[in-house]
């Protein structure tokens, strides 16, 4: 197996065992980028020299028997709204052209502290909204990889890097992960610090993880999760051993949500979902129908109003000086957000909490709720697809993960989305790993 094909945990194990050189791994990934990225356009910028220097240092440390942490010598990518010290962070926007942070986002710092090596910055839609990045889907270059974490998804799918940081405020991590055949996690709100991530909506912003297996996600979550006193939204809940949770695999109790999700899915997605659910049930999963609470009816409107109001507040000063530099969709969101009445904004935040409260008893009955991840496979063109199946979990903060479950007739990946209660990632990851065992790992695209 070529080094670029190794997943995160595989590469980390090989480096620890001294069967893989961090320098050889970085060189293999850079060669992969050089071979493919003119077509895929996953990377906004690479840090070739920095990554190679870090790899040489990692290699020297391995030779001395020193391992910085569980990701020693393994590269990762970071979405270009995530601060990286000394490396430009431009958010896919002319507004931020040339901006170079002087410090790392907490998520980046924690990965580096664990020994990981930053390979570069991945393309994002402008400020993580809807104005598209140039990135194409490695499964079909005519299609979007989804967004807003477009380059993060495409880079991991194209085997240019084994792990990438994305973000999700509406549907920006789990959806592109599914469109590209990956495992993608949006953990509980507050589980991974958002300090150093350009904000979009204070109460809905999440750092996301994208990799090619549930084990890789569990490994990365263990490194990135935890309280950050510099982030007022950061949770104080202790960080459990997520990898240990994967050793307790058993057939899960799954709550299949038919209403809304299967109603809005294409016939093909509904059929592939039904086939996957049938395989899970035959393998021993207990699958029962789960009902949504009344407040679900208002979650999409609430999430969109909150996002508009927050983005208006966040961008007010920049908009006053540079309105013409914004692309159309983000500019419209900012300007409409300035006009949303305060009473409706607060009402939307009350709906957020009511939905959390009303769904909690249903979540307690199951290890995870189960839905298709997207209504359809990745669409052709530049528009980044439909995020509606992620919106309820971005609004409420419940953790969600996608695992590959098959291919569409056009050869594009489809996923199953699992959702669980606040801070129940161990059970969620165990259920996802069990589903992954039954359904098989996602195949690699032929770029």
């Amino acid at each position: 197996m070529s080094p670029h094909e190794l997943g995160l945990a595989e590469a980390a194990r090989a480096i620890r065992a001294r069967t893989l050189s961090p320098v050889a791994l970085v060189e293999a990934l850079l060669a992969r980028v050089d071979a493919l990225d003119a077509r895929v356009q996953a990377w906004a910028r690479l840090d070739r020299e920095g990554a190679l220097a870090a790899a040489r240092a990692s290699e020297a440390e391995v030779a001395r028997g020193v391992l910085r942490g569980p990701l020693h010598g393994v590269p990762f990518g970071a979405k270009d709204i995530v601060y990286t010290a000394g490396l430009a962070t431009e958010a896919g926007s002319r507004v931020m052209a040339g901006f170079v942070p002087q410090w790392d986002a907490t998520s980046v710092a924690r990965l580096k502290d664990a020994g990981a090596i930053l390979l570069g910055k991945t393309h994002t839609t402008e400020f993580a909204t809807y104005d598209p990045a140039p990135t194409r889907n490695p499964w079909n270059l005519a299609c979007t990889p989804g967004g807003s974490s477009s380059g993060s998804a495409a880079s991991v799918a194209a085997r240019m890097v084994p792990l990438a940081l994305g973000t999700q405020t509406i549907g920006s991590n789990v959806r592109p992960a599914s469109y590209c055949g990956l495992v993608g996690l949006k953990a509980t709100f507050g589980r991974i610090s958002t300090r150093g991530v350009m904000p979009l909506a204070y109460t809905q912003d999440h750092v996301g993880l994208m990799a090619r297996s549930v084990e890789d996600i569990a490994l990365a979550l263990g490194v990135t999760a935890g309280h950050d006193p510099a982030d007022p939204s950061s949770a104080r809940a202790p960080v459990p051993d997520y990898l240990a949770a994967l050793t307790r695999r058993r057939p899960p109790r799954l709550g299949l949500v038919r209403e809304y999700f299967l109603e809005h899915a294409t016939d093909e997605v509904a059929r592939v979902t039904a086939q996957a659910v049938d395989r899970l049930a035959r393998a021993g999963a207990v699958v029962e129908e789960a009902k949504l609470p009344p407040s679900f009816a208002a979650v999409h409107a609430a999430a969109n109003l909150i996002m508009r109001s927050d983005v208006a507040s966040i961008h007010a000063e920049l908009h006053a000086r540079k309105a013409d530099l914004y692309r159309p969709t983000i500019r419209s969101a900012i300007e409409l957000g300035m006009l949303v009445p305060g009473d409706l904004y607060v009402r939307a935040l009350r709906i957020r909490r009511q939905f959390r409260r009303e769904l909690a008893p249903t979540l307690e009955r199951f290890d995870a709720l189960l839905t298709p991840t997207t209504p359809a496979p990745a669409p052709e063109g530049m528009a980044t697809g439909d995020p509606r199946f992620q919106v309820p979990w971005s609004l409420s903060g419940f953790p969600s993960i996608t695992v590959p479950c098959g291919l569409s007739g056009s050869g594009l990946p489809l996923g199953l989305q699992l959702v669980s209660g606040l801070f129940t990632e161990p059970a969620l990851l165990a259920a996802a790993a069990w589903c992954e065992d039954v359904l098989g790992p996602g195949p690699a695209p032929r770029v």
Binding site: F189, G190, Y202, T203, P232, S233, A235, R236, A237, S295, A297, A298, H300, A301, A302, N304, L305, R308, P328, S332, A333, E335, L336, M338, L339, V340, P341, L344, V346, R347, A348, L349, R350, I351, R352, R353, Q354, R356, R357, G397, L422, F423, T424
Partner: protein, 63 residues
Amino acid sequence: MDRDGRRAEYAAGLRAEATRRFGAARADALAQAIEDTAGFMADVAAFPVDPDEAPAFYAEPAP
């Protein structure tokens, strides 16, 4: 007032305010965004929020 009526009322208000703040040309460019946002506002306004429900901001209790 039904949802469509409320939505139309919100859209008219948003358009007037957009014209005042950003000018008529910019308000025209925002026409679709105004319609979308008016729809979200109508849905949020129409939902019967529990009167005891407080807004959720940052801090949520850990388990």
